[in-house]
Amino acid sequence: MADPKKPRAAFAPWDRRQLPGSFDVEESARRVGNYKWIEMRLFEVLGGWVATVPELDVKMRLGSHCYHHAWHAELWHKRLPELREMNPERLTEPPNDEMVAFVDAMTEPEAAEQTIEKLVGVYRVLIPHKIAAYTYHRNNTSEITDAPTIRSIDFILQDEYADWRDGEMMLQSIITTPEEVDRAAARQAELEKLMVKAGGITGPGTIGDPYDIPEQ
């Protein structure tokens, strides 16, 4: 064993974390408030839909996923005071009215024959956008100062990927005719247009701006 008194680098050679990040505390809190809001809307509707879907496997899966997103909402609820927002409800809000319109449209289907519409909204539109928003945040925030947010995002992304795969497989098993393919595609287009209007989970700039080229 090496001499324990021999000085070592504070950051090990394999630890390449950087101090700078794209978000200050205020911006991080704003985004976290948007995350909590959308996670709440998602777990609420998944819970509500359980009674409305006749497919037994889907019914059970929605019940499991409902809790995943409730837990995400709880993580963000606890993170907000750590970001100097002592009243978490104040920032638990959508980024804009267009996001409210998206959620209203996504949660509208109720009939037992609309499982495709329900699943497409969640698993082909909302969850891919959540993964994008969380990934952008994870890759752009300070790896040192905002480590608690990164830790939560890492746990959350594991759920999101698993749920996305579950949802996509449920859809592939339910969509069996050309007409159902059209239904799913039409539903996805309808909701994707609303999401584009909203600018993503945290509004315009959710995943940055690839046309914003830094000056040399």
Binding site: K59, M60, G63
Partner: protein, 273 residues
């Protein structure tokens, strides 16, 4: 999607058969002549295995409805502090319950196969979900999490005992795990009832009255009771863990005994006629 989804509209595939609660209770395979309701469920009893399969099917559909009820509570009530809102943390508990109930449905399906029955072999009545339709969130919580989930404690404990007597380690193992979850759910109900009604004794009284109505409805004509020989025996120790006090358990036992005596008296009149 609307709020307050009615029991008639619960979505099911074609295997399920919806029946009125009375028809389910009076199904002769469950507790008819071959399996008198005064007797503890035993494998050696004539009709005992059928009774156990029927009870397992009842648990299965009950778990589906419990899942649906918890899910609806996530959707039906906004987070907030008004009378028809619920605390954010209560909604999180209901979401957690959704996950638990989903697992219970999975377990029940596997156990049903294990016990030699299949989905739809027995009828389903929506009686459990009906209690989850109360528009007052605290009454709903009390009716579901204290009355019905309390009943689930008794049922799971009885099935666990049946598994032990039958020498069935799979049944005993699964029922023991589900029993742990149910104690958690009942405790959730007990804790939230105390917390939300801490400064509103009138509302607490209404909630407890609703719980008693539900408890009486689900005494199953005396099927549940405090006697060792009851088909579904009151699980006092587990109810205590879940936040019931002795007085409350005694009241449930008294109601169950009353229901049993009423049923016996009706049956004796029927027999003499």
């Amino acid at each position: 999607m609307r709020n307050l989804f009615p029991p008639e509209d619960l979505a099911r595939d074609d295997r399920f058969v919806r029946v009125p609660a009375e028809a389910r209770i009076e199904d002769p395979r469950s507790n008819g002549a071959s399996n008198p309701r005064s007797a503890r469920l035993k494998p050696s009893q004539r009709g005992g295995p059928d009774g156990a399969r029927s009870m397992m099917h009842g648990i299965f559909v009950g778990e589906i409805q419990a899942l649906e009820g918890a899910g609806r509570t996530c959707w039906d009530f906004e987070a907030g502090s008004d009378e028809y809102q619920v605390p954010f943390e209560l909604k999180l508990d209901m979401a957690r319950q959704c996950w638990d109930e989903s697992r219970h449905v999975e377990i029940s399906i596997k156990l049903s196969e294990h016990m030699g029955t299949e989905i739809g072999e027995f009828g389903e009545s929506a009686f459990l979900y009906r209690a989850a339709c109360n528009p007052d969130p605290i009454l709903r919580l009390t009716g579901v999490n204290r009355a019905l989930e309390g009943l689930a404690i008794d049922v799971f404990n009885s099935m666990r005992e049946f598994g032990k007597i039958a020498g069935d380690p799979v049944l005993t193992f699964c029922e023991d795990w589900m029993l742990a979850d149910e104690v958690t759910h009942v405790k959730m109900g007990s804790d939230w009832l105390r917390k939300i009604t801490a400064n509103d004794p009138e509302r607490r009284t209404r909630a407890l009255e609703f719980q008693r109505v539900v408890d009486k409805l689900f005494s199953f004509n005396g099927l549940r009771g405090d006697d060792e020989d009851s088909p579904v025996r009151l699980a006092r120790r587990f109810r205590e863990l879940a936040g019931f006090d002795d007085e409350e358990i005694d009241a449930i036992a008294a109601d169950a005994l009353e229901a049993k005596n009423e049923t016996a008296s009706v049956e004796s009149v029927g027999a003499s006629a």
